[in-house]
């Protein structure tokens, strides 16, 4: 899931600028389950902004709406009226939601209320950790299900480095050394030969390094849709 955190109130106020009518838009998917921008958080943020700006003598009229998924434009139809009545739209969706809103309502001023951080999973209530870097060519099959791109601080493919300290990463004792985990797992699985092979340099083209990515699934394209360059 996508994991995000709210920006500080000061930063949000700076982004809102002089806008008097603010619409906070929450999202019912990823940011709901990481408690950053769901309906509840959008409501609390709206209330916070109302009260704080009133106290400071420059009251803003802040309302809030939440859509099921902010990243898909069909779900954004429902808030059209509210968007047109706002001076600023404060999205507490992930970075994708913010952009989808900005693209759909191109005349609106859309600003982000969150910092989208990573793709990860909850470890326990209130704790999320990064698990995937979307490198585009998954190596989990040969690393015992532990990702060295996301979880090794140096993204080693032939790890560990010499800094492993009692199974922890040199940069943070709270971080497990990904290669210690991989080693332990492959040992249990009796697949140590995978560790002895020298993994060659990664082809980073499938990752963000190759440029912004797009996937086109011909099997899902609807008749009558314009053919993209990839399909021609």
């Amino acid at each position: 899931m996508i994991v995000a955190e709210q920006k500080s109130l000061d930063e949000i106020k700076n982004l809102l600028g002089d806008g008097k009518r603010v619409l906070v838009v929450g999202c019912g998917t990823c940011v709901t389950v990481c408690f950053a921008g769901g309906a509840k958080e959008a409501g609390i943020l709206a209330s916070t902004l109302r009260m704080n700006t009133q106290l400071n003598g420059d009251p803003k009229a802040v309302t809030h709406m939440t859509v099921q998924r902010q990243c898909e434009s069909e779900y954004l139809d429902t808030i059209q009226d509210q968007v047109s009545e706002a001076d600023v739209v404060l999205s507490v969706g992930c970075g994708i939601g913010v952009q989808a809103l900005a693209e759909k309502y191109s005349d609106a001023l859309v600003v982000p209320g969150l910092n989208t951080s990573f793709m990860g999973q909850p470890l326990e209530q209130g704790v999320w950790a990064e698990r995937c870097q979307a490198c585009g060519s998954c190596v989990l099959g040969v690393t015992g299900g532990i990702c060295p791109i996301a979880r090794c601080s140096k993204q080693l493919l032939n790890g560990p480095c010499g800094g492993t300290d009692d199974g922890r990463c040199e940069i943070d004792a709270d971080l497990e050394c990904a290669w210690q985990l991989i080693y332990d797992k492959l040992k249990t699985q009796e697949r140590m030969h995978l560790l002895m092979d020298i993994t060659p340099p990664k082809d980073w083209r499938s990752s963000r390094d190759g440029g912004p990515r797009k996937i086109v699934r011909k099997d899902l394209r609807l008749p009558g849709q314009e053919m993209s360059n990839d399909e021609r």
Binding site: K154, G159, G162, G163, Y183, L195, I198, P201
Partner: protein, 323 residues
């Protein structure tokens, strides 16, 4: 591809090790400025006391003069450098480009490292590169020599760099049982020599080397044991408690503390500590020399280059032979 006389690179370090001498390498940290004289002064201190000198590459992720630049100055000063290259700051294009330049400047030894993470240094906000890891870098550098091609497979037209390639090993980092095998992997990737992390825990080091010898890896690479003089009990404690991957048994902290006890005068106490630190280093050199599979020592006297002549003298490593 080797040169006519059978050497891979022809470097002094290579000749020493090939000739069966117990090799000595040391380290020189470039300045945090553009001043070449700092390097010339340090090189002058070390000249004649080692077979080659490592020139660090933004060590501890602190920006210093580049290893390639400082190595070239060191070479001009009459000391053979081992240029260090980390994977932290450069992608494969910059690495290969620098290696071509390094060879053109007369450099012949390269040590391939992952690199300390930038959070430790003075630019923690920087983007982390790690396009390659140290094993892939070793392979890339040896491929220049063995296959005459770039990492992408394209043939190098004209002079192909022929380096004596080194890598690091840490016998004290977990998982412990994996480390000898990882050393073997570096040998498989083409490494010619290995420098280990600082050895203080001799029993652990002996266990490590026994496994290495059992695997036959000591015949595939020349292994130099890392040693270094302690300056103070504080340094010993810091290395024991704070630096990752270092194993400093309590006895050394105690010895260093005892060396200065009862001495009130600060300069005198400091001198006593340093004397003890050198004595410990000399002992360790003599002990690792006896461990089967060890082909030399790598002496790291951090910001204390003047200790190297003393240590090498007391450890019976002088004069350095001409290979």
């Amino acid at each position: 591809m080797t040169s006519d006389n059978g050497y891979k690179s022809g470097s002094n370090l290579e000749r020493m090790l090939r000739a069966g001498h117990f090799a000595v390498t040391t380290e020189l940290g470039p300045p945090k400025s553009a001043d070449p004289d700092v390097i010339r002064e340090k090189a002058a201190i070390l000249k004649g006391f080692a077979d080659a000198t490592n020139i660090t590459d933004n060590q501890a992720a602190v920006v210093r003069m580049s290893s390639i630049g400082a190595s070239a100055i060191t070479l001009q000063a009459g000391v053979e450098p081992v240029m260090q290259m980390t994977c932290r700051d450069r992608n494969r294009l910059a690495m290969q480009s620098d290696l071509l330049g390094a060879h053109a400047l007369g450099l012949r030894n390269v040590l391939c490292l992952s690199g300390d993470h930038q959070v430790f240094g003075n630019h923690p906000q920087a983007k982390n590169v790690h396009d390659l890891d140290s094993l892939q870098l070793v392979q890339m550098v040896t491929d220049f020599r063995e296959k005459g091609c770039f990492q992408c497979g394209e043939e190098i037209e004209g002079d192909s760099p022929r380096f004596f390639v080194g890598a690091a090993a840490n016998p004290f980092a977990t998982p412990l049982e994996w480390r000898p095998l990882r050393l073997g992997k570096k040998a498989k990737a083409g490494a010619d020599f290995i420098q280990t992390q600082l050895v203080f825990n001799l029993p652990r080091f002996r266990e490590f080397m026994k496994e290495v010898v059992d695997l036959g890896v000591h015949e595939q690479v020349y292994i130099l044991a890392g040693v270094g003089p302690l300056k103070s009990p504080g340094m010993a404690r810091y290395m024991r408690d704070k630096l990752p991957g270092l194993d400093v048994p309590d006895e050394f902290v105690e010895r260093m503390t005892a060396a200065g006890s009862g001495i009130e005068d600060k300069p005198a106490r400091s001198a006593a500590w340093r004397k003890a630190g050198i004595a410990i280093c000399v002992e360790l050199i003599q002990q690792v020399r006896e461990v089967p599979g060890v082909a030399g020592v790598h002496i790291t006297a951090i910001e204390w280059e003047k200790a190297v002549p003393i240590i090498t003298e007391q450890a019976g490593l002088l004069p350095r032979p001409n290979a």
